[in-house]
């Protein structure tokens, strides 16, 4: 009975998904951009249903109901992967926040391509990682009780949870460049303290790795020159220690993760391949897009009649938004609250996609 009750509760959860699948409330520009994200980040055909949620901020369900349906003998879609992505019900038009969908699709990419296992496989010093985990196990048993075997199992789960989130961050930053850093700062700062949890690594560690990756991919000079004050604040955030409190084993997990940071970056770069967003792909368009935005001109088409690249539109949009709202951390909130500008940019994404497809006909 409990199992049936559980399944019925699960089926109730489907209702808003069905409604969302029938007709998305999201702007076309965003719908098209998610298709682009699927192609770049997931690298597999997928049917993404984006559904508003009052319960979750952003979350992903990869292959919903795969196990129960398979157990019932129902053939599960084999070629197109069903994915449910929830977004905040009150933020349907927030393009800047919706960049988190790139992170969410990262969860599916990890599930499909075993990227976490690849990271473990590239651990530069497995012995040191094992020693660090041994220390963490001892600290866990000391503070939480239980057996070392149970503690080791629990810590492995937490480490994998953290690693998963960090790979997702890396994929989003790799594809979107500094835009994702700004989004993560806007999204993370108001809601999360520096405290870690069993499902998510500390914000400080996440920010630290994002900065490290973007620097490695050549973005630091653009960020520093475009938003020096905000950049300084983000840097400061990334160097604060996590507030682990008595749960000192979280500090050990951070040590282990930091040792894996290069492996994360390598796996992300390899996975994205040519889709890794580099400054030299953005630079040729940056000035023109900036000039268009300054004059309230839709930044969809460049003077040479080509479609403006979507990622450059978004990044130019972030830089323009800082110029408009001020280069200071508090502006992150007002930028995300500027619905008019985000509607404008989303329309530019739509027009850019249509123009690009038109030229291929």
């Amino acid at each position: 009975m409990r199992r049936i009750n559980y399944d019925v509760m699960g089926l109730h959860e489907v209702s808003p998904w069905v409604e969302s699948a029938r007709g998305s409330k999201l702007a076309l520009g965003l719908v098209y951009f998610v298709d682009e994200l699927v192609s770049a980040v997931l690298k597999a055909p997928a049917d993404v249903v984006m559904t508003p949620s009052g319960t979750y901020m952003y979350s992903t369900i990869h292959k919903p109901f795969e196990d129960p349906l398979t157990n019932l003998g129902v053939t599960y879609p084999a070629t197109v992967i069903p994915i449910i992505v929830s977004y905040p019900v009150h933020e349907p038009e927030s393009l800047f926040l919706h960049l988190i969908i790139a992170h969410e699709l990262g969860h599916s990419a990890i599930a499909e391509h075993n990227l976490d296992q690849e990271v473990y496989g590239r651990d530069p010093d497995p012995t040191a990682t094992r020693d660090t985990l041994n220390l963490a196990v001892a600290e866990y048993v000391s503070h939480e009780g239980g057996t070392p075997a149970a503690a080791r199992g629990r810590l492995r789960v937490i480490l994998r949870n953290w690693l998963t989130e960090l790979i997702c961050d890396g994929l989003a930053a790799g594809f979107l460049g500094p835009s994702y850093l700004f989004t993560a700062a806007a999204f993370g700062a108001p809601f999360h303290g520096p405290e870690p949890s069993e499902t998510h690594p500390p914000l400080t560690l996440r920010t630290h790795l994002l900065i490290e990756q973007l620097t490695s991919w050549g973005w630091s000079s653009l960020i520093e020159s475009a938003v020096p004050e905000t950049h300084a604040w983000i840097l400061d955030t990334s160097t604060r220690p996590q507030q682990a409190g008595h749960r000192t084993y979280f500090l050990r997990l951070e040590e282990a993760i930091r040792r894996l940071s290069t492996a994360i970056e390598d796996v992300v770069s390899t996975h994205l391949g040519a889709e890794l967003f580099r400054p030299d792909a953005h630079a040729p368009n940056a000035d023109e897009l900036s000039a268009l935005l300054e004059r309230d001109i839709l930044p969809a088409q460049l003077l040479d009649r080509s479609a403006a690249p979507r990622r450059s539109i978004i990044l130019a949009g972030w830089v323009h938004a800082f110029a408009k709202h001020g280069d200071e951390p508090v502006s992150l909130a007002s930028i995300v609250g500027d619905r008019d500008q985000q509607r404008f940019l989303t329309k530019a994404l739509e027009m850019s996609v249509v123009l690009e497809r038109w030229t291929t006909l």
Binding site: A307, K347, M351
Partner: protein
Amino acid sequence: MTLLQHEALVDALSETDFDKRLVVTPLLEDEQVGEASIDLRLGTEFLLLRRTLQAGVDVGDPNFQVQVDDLYDKIVVPIGEGMWLHPQQFALGATFEFVRLPPTLGAYVLGRSSWGRLGLLVATAVMVQPGFAGSLTLELVNEGESPVQLYPGLTIAQLAVHSLHAQTKFIKSDPTYRAPTGPQAARLAKEQHALEKISKLGDSLARV
């Protein structure tokens, strides 16, 4: 005031000085620039009028804007799909293209006669002021006897652009419709203020 011919339109669209450029973006085909006008396509967003429980729309009501906004349902019709416009139905659409006029140019939006012959009226507020930036709202009315299917992406209107006698320095810094990217419902705040003044005028005249 001179109507810009094909070559002048191409020059204006290619102007490298952003502040002097005539912007029509995205322009999918060069062929949209005709002899003396630019073909404009139908956009993907529409505002459909619906019946409400209100008595009507009164610009003198302090809640006028709420009344107006309550009149419309917004729908999105992706390219590749269509929308039926029934006889006597009124809808607001918008041009697919985002238009920006420099301070040296004005324009008129005109329906394409091919659609007009089916009974479809496309635009009633046809003047586009110098300095305007945005997608142009189209007032779509089916005056024919048969429903007409509208397809976003098809050319539906044309923009006739003309030069001004001289460049105007009078460009409103806070226009009624600022860089819209879809159809805009009526905004009559200015008329509401004017009505207040007219009411006062009426009061003073009544005392005479």
